[in-house]
Each structure stands twice: as C-alpha cells, then as structure tokens.
Amino acid sequence: MTSTNSPKLDPLATADSQETLSSEIQDISTTYEQSVQADPKREETQPRLNYPPYRSSLLRHPTKDLHHTDPETIELYSPAFGHRDVHQLESNLTIQHNGEPIGERIVIRGRVLDGNGRPVRNQLIEVWQANAAGRYIHKRDQHPAPIDPNFSGVGRAITGDDGTYEFTTIKPAPYPWKNHHNAWRPAHVHFSLFGTDFTQRMITQMYFPGDPLFALDPIYQSITDQKARDRLVATYDHSITSHEWNTGYRWDIVLTGSQQTPMEDEDHDH
C-alpha cells in the first residue's frame, strides 16, 4: 500500500513552446472538425480524457473503453446537504475576513438543471478560485503573485427550489502553470456539483467571455467542440450588475439526465 517511489509532481513537464502546443491543439481541432463534417453523430460534448497537449493527461487517462451500464441502487440517489451544512453567508466570498478583498467585485448567478430540464433543488454547489492577482491559497501554489489576506477563494451554496444559485466574489486573474513554457490559464472559477443521482456528480470550470487565452489553453481546448466549450463561458448580464457595487455574470449548468423514475423522485424528495 505504501510506496517508496517519491511522486513526480510534473513527470511530463517540458520546455515546449506555446507555438508547439498551439500547433498540436490546432491539428486536433482540424481533424475533429473534418470528422464532424463527415458524420455529425461524432459531435463531442465533453472533454477528451486523452488530450496530449495537456501533458499531465498522458498517464492519467484510461486506455480501455469505459463500461457502459445503467445506474443501480445507491447510484440512483445522492447525498443530502442542507442549511445544516452550509450557512447562507458562505456564498459571499468577499466577507470572509475583516477587510474588503482587492479586485473587481462580481456576482455569478445561474440555475442548475438536469438533462430533462428539471431544476436541481436544495443541492450543494462548491466553488474555489484564484484571487485578483492569480494566486490561490494553497501550499502547492508557488506563483509569485500576492496573497490577499482578505480573500480565501472558497464558497458554498445550496440551490433554491428553482435550481438557482448565486455567488458574490472577486474576478479571478489568469495564472501561469507548468504544462509548457510560458503557459497561462484563462481566468476561471472551479465549480463542484451534485445532482439527484450520484452519477450526475461533476466538477468543472467556469470561464469569462472573450478571454484572449482561450485558444492557447489545453485544458479548455480538451473540449474539441466550440459549442461545447461555449457552455463553460459565462455571459455578462447587466441585470445582475448593480449600481456602484458589482458587475454580473450569468452561468447555467446542465447535469446529465436523472435516471430516477418520478415515483422514486417523490419518495426521495430532499
């Protein structure tokens, strides 16, 4: 169970240039576009697990086919969270310390739906993110940008009866990483979601519109289809912006369809 191998944190980190990476990304994209043009059924809606431009994916993706199956027993249910678990103020990432964090105050608002369009009610959403300088509170983050003593970058919320959620936070900045030389991630907020079935569990990243780093980023581009990538980009929404206080973004999230029958849904109504 224990191993004497010391873990290699970045076994495949290389000095490849952005030009090399971008041309790999472009090649995959061109091949994908041609394949979908030939057969629209090949449209992809999720990231590839094997995406060589994201070097760390090379040894961390299964090479055998995933086994298709229907969910059984516990997989048709999900853990329960409520206001016992999450205080309402936890959705405001700007009031966790004594002072105001530095940066652009934003509100992110949206709904969580299942694949049948039903709201995912009273379920946990967690977010975590870098601060306005692109720095995480994390022992492994060595980016020499300032930590903000007034910003931890973590929030939780429980969705409403209509599946809505809202976070008040600070717009995160892009940050460098070690995939290749001069690699930068587009600004993003990490989201963690639960549905009514545990098979709907998901973790993803929300991006901001018009980020100039989109084309250069192998994590975002691991979703080969532009329509699918667009589903991770929030929309600027002036109706969420409030006078002399915050700008606003809207981002809705769709989980895979619940496999619960309506009767099970009622029995297990939380």
């Binding site: 059984e72 016992r84 369009g117 975590w128 973790i203 589903r231 981002w251 999230i253």
Partner: protein, 197 residues
Amino acid sequence: MTTNDLTPTPGQTIGPFFGYFNAAEQVHLPFENGDNLVPPGDDRAIQLIGTVYDGEGTPIPDAMIEIWQADEHGNIPNQDGSLIRDPFAFTGWGRATTDNVGTYRFTTVQPGATDEGKAPFIHVVVFARGLLNKLHTRAYIPENKGLANDATLSALGDRAETLIAKRDGKRLLFDIHLQGNNETVFFSYPGMDYPKP
C-alpha cells in the same frame, strides 16, 4: 450557457489547487471528518484504503476521491449533515484526498445489500490533476454470495477483479489504476460522453 440547450455542461479537471485539510487549516474542498463517515472508534468501523496510480505505476498525490454507499443494513441514506457530521447519523458520503504517496483512506461501515441477494458495493468517484473529467467506479465487498451472479461483474470477465476490494482484517483495500495492465474498470452512465480521438 444561457439558452434552453439541455446538453450536459462539460466537465473539466479538478486541477492541482482543490485544497487540503489538516489540524491547522481547511482550504477549499476537503473538510473536517470528510473521510470519516463514522468516527474511527465506532464498533462498526472499517477502513477503505487504497493508492491511486498512473500508467507508469507512479502514485498520484493530487487526486480527490469521493465515496457514496448504503449503511450496514443496506439502507440508502437520505438526511442532510453530509458536510457537518453528527457522529450518530450515517450520511453515506465521504471525501478524501490522496497523500504524498497517493494513498486515500476512509473510515466507514461495510455496506449491506440494498436488495436481497444483491452484491453490495461502495460507489467511488475519482478526480485528479491531469484527469480531464470525473471517473466513476465501484468497490465491491469481497466474499459476498451476490458477486457470483452479479450481471455487471459477469459482463466484465477477468477485469471484474479490479472492482472487488481485498479484505485485510478491518480494512478493505481498493487500489485505483487510471491506466495500465491493471487498469481499473470505470463506468459510463446514460447521458455521459467520454469522447476518444
């Protein structure tokens, strides 16, 4: 995404900065007793423990594992308190991160059968830096009569072995190989898309 489009939102990697929990700090996702579904001193307690490996057999020190399971009688939990635990209530869900040598640990109960004769399992979901989307698998309880006639396991042939935990006293051992000869079987459920080149 703000249209009436009901295509599932894509996943993305959890990345390296999902956080940690220790006596001094709670950072991001991990939380106090997230890995203790029951208190370690509980009479019923067993440990589910394993190491997560990459395709070269190197342990993965930046993975997050969640489990979801029935209680020892096979009842499916349905009460809140999954984050802030009541030691007398079993919520069935846990979250742990791998340590510096890729090992995760949960203190839990051995799940009972949810239906007469059904082989019990602990559902396991894996997130990691370098892993672009979640992976679902199952840790089946060993030495159970239901294993022999479980349709899912039968369909997997020899690879079914990767899904059956090994017993070591009060421990259930369940290693996870993301890639390689011993690659763990991962499941894809209706509606999920795992595109391949």
